[in-house]
Symmetry: none
């Protein structure tokens, strides 16, 4: 048996102007997900009676559950009850239970029940009242053409309490208990969406339809999501998740539990376990790598110092980079990043370092070293690794990408991973 | 003549699950509002071909402009082109212009054009291509049943550039030209939305209705927008804009022309004119101030070095902060930030510096110095200014705010502004 189809209808002029971002629907999606339900369609309209009547009519005929959010307030632009009454062909009447709620609500607050408030008791006769213990507007529901319609208040904390205490338990009751929703989220770095899709097409071309694959590209991480809705899918899960993580290889950062962590967070966790300290020597990223590390709460255990050496003179003054290297090799060179890496380790007494020097652009590129050229050096004093990449992106994106890759080089080094990451295969640049 | 009816269709499983909050539609509403258009209906669906075909068919028949967002990526769950082709009764063909874009895109990045990417060139034959200079997916538009349909990428910065540079100018052309839209945007730092609203209520209580005031709170800047739609409003503009900027005072960063600049950008511009160099000495912000400065293209002219001194030992080693100060005053103290500021000026030979030391939390607070306590020192060797503030926010927000305030202290210092900013009046903390 398939899961009930859920749709959301949000109403409110403020949702249409861009002045506020709608967070209610994400919250509704979350609590519905907890009982295994997804939302397959969501409509947002301004406070307009004709539009609302239209939407409710169509949505009720194409879903099993319709949650309407907003439009229950006391003002003239609150039209949900009126629209619903028109759709189901009823009059608005003063509803005894809603009226009692209003009387008590006002009494508790020592205020008089006024005419605008009284409007909140004018509801379709056959509706069921849903209690609201945080506000004056009760919720209400009707069953219409095999669809359960729930009308809810737009104020977030009123909505949340009403959903959790009243509506979700009712909906959960009605779900056939063989409905399955199993979601796995994987955090991937260094494999783009299209590269991963290509690998899957080639190496896992018989991917089972029972496991739905989804991708969400973030900066810098890609999230891969496996969604399973059937017991057949569940039976296939461990085998195919294993096959997938095998092709993702060392680009897999972690399986996400709860809130996703940054690569820096994973790195520092590992460093703390190994009782090691890390430092940074940054030219083109100008402090961004250090700031990504220190965003992590508790980073002071593993990070004591970072060096932002933007000019050649300061590379020499702060990190003892021999001045002759700038003439011999240039500031963006293997020799210079190695000297920066060593200097940072010596000056900070850290165990590991990451050093970067590159051409962030938009100016400063040459034929040999075009905008996007970047040298990395990382590791410990007795084992410095290097790599040159070509990342021809806009300045700020370039800086973010270089920072993320630098931190990933350290993550791989820490974990003694020796496979070559995709970004090196695709972006390696032989800088003379 | 009435304005065209605009609808939005957003597609993406991630929008339905509650894992991310949709911010694209608020952004689209903002840029449409700038040319005087509202959105009257918005639909969000999962990546499902039948649903998409249905929505596009219905929405095209009930609007003049339909903007579709998302579903242009290379993976199997990206279905916008396929759905649109079905609606308008065309086949998907390899589109020459889109193909050329992909070839160039890959060439510039030195990667091979793979099969999944090639899918992004498979488009309805009659569509017009909309350039995307930030991503592999081109946008495209068709006219169908008197509706202009624009298909746009889901990645926010790709969407934003495409809207501003390509789509909005086309739409603006099509709007009847008796519609007046005059928009002025002011960049403000250090005055919150509610503080500014209060000042306006008190000091400009007779604000004319012909000039619509809007606020958009960003981090760290507040944008204040004046929108005028009538010739009466235009006549009032210069007087009331002057009154408004007078109450904003030195919190006004600039009037925005085109793309807003960061405070760091304004600061560095000024420093370049004065032929001065700036450095940073950061503890609690861990490199974020340096990275904000070096985000600015051409920053190397005024910025040569930054010091991220996270531990006490490294404050002494890198900046010669006397070790006894940590015992006498503590790491978060006036004496220590002054010593950091002086050390950074001496070590880097810069003219100006900003030094910060604070308790970013969530741990490390004490009764005397709770989480959110932060000391600033800034200026030149012979004139160091200091200030302690209490900014009890979450770690990452605290770091961003401290960085922005630090840069603003420098901006004010550079411009010899002596008025006390609102954030000092509201947040000054007398740290023992």
């Amino acid at each position: 048996m398939s899961a009930p189809k859920v749709q959301l209808l949000l109403t409110g002029n403020e949702l249409m102007t861009g002045d506020i971002v709608d967070s209610n629907s994400a919250m509704m999606a979350q609590v519905l997900k907890d009982i295994g339900l997804g939302i397959n369609r969501k409509v947002t309209v301004a406070d307009d009676l004709a539009l609302l009547v239209n939407e409710i009519t169509y949505m009720a005929s194409t879903s099993d559950i319709l949650i309407i959010n907003g439009g229950l307030g006391p003002t003239v632009d609150d039209l949900t009850a009126q629209a619903l009454a028109l759709v189901i062909g009823e009059q608005l009447n003063q509803h005894a239970q809603a009226y009692t709620h209003l009387i008590n609500w006002c009494k508790q607050r020592g205020v008089e029940l006024n005419a605008p408030n009284l409007k909140q008791a004018m509801l379709p006769k056959t509706c069921q009242i849903i209690a609201n213990r945080n506000g004056s507007a009760v919720g209400f529901s009707v069953r219409y053409k095999d669809c359960d319609i729930y009308c809810t208040p737009g104020v977030p904390h009123e909505l949340k309490t009403m959903l959790n205490e009243q509506i979700i338990p009712i909906i959960a009751e009605s779900i056939p208990n063989d409905v399955i929703t199993d979601i796995t989220r994987l955090q991937v770095f260094g494999l783009g969406e299209s590269s991963l899709q290509k690998i899957i097409d080639q190496q896992l071309s018989d991917w089972p339809t029972e496991i739905e694959l989804g991708f969400r590209a973030g900066m810098p991480l890609l999230e891969v999501k496996l969604t399973i809705n059937t017991s057949q899918g569940l039976a296939l899960k461990s085998l195919w998740q294993k096959k997938l993580t095998d092709v993702i290889g060392d680009h897999l950062i972690a399986e996400i539990q709860g809130k996703p962590k940054s690569i820096a967070d994973h790195l520092l966790n590992q460093m703390q376990k190994n009782n090691l300290k890390v430092t940074t020597a940054e030219s083109c990223t100008g402090g961004l790598i250090a700031s990504k590390l220190t965003e992590v709460s508790g980073s002071s255990i593993s990070f004591e110092a970072g060096f932002v050496t933007y000019s050649n003179e300061m590379k020499t003054a702060m990190l003892d980079v021999p001045a002759r290297l700038f003439e011999q090799d240039g500031a963006v060179s293997k020799a210079v990043v190695i000297a920066m890496a060593k200097g940072s380790l010596i000056k900070s007494n850290a165990d590991l370092t990451i050093a970067v020097s590159g051409v962030a652009g938009p100016n400063g590129g040459s034929d040999d070293k075009p905008v996007g050229t970047v040298w990395f050096a990382w590791g410990s004093l007795d084992d410095i690794q290097t790599q040159c990449l070509l990342l021809p992106y806009k300045r700020i994106y370039f800086q973010q990408l270089v920072s993320a890759i630098g931190i990933d080089f350290l993550r791989r080094y820490q974990k003694k991973i020796t496979t070559i990451p995709n970004y090196v295969i695709e972006r390696a640049f032989s800088n003379p």
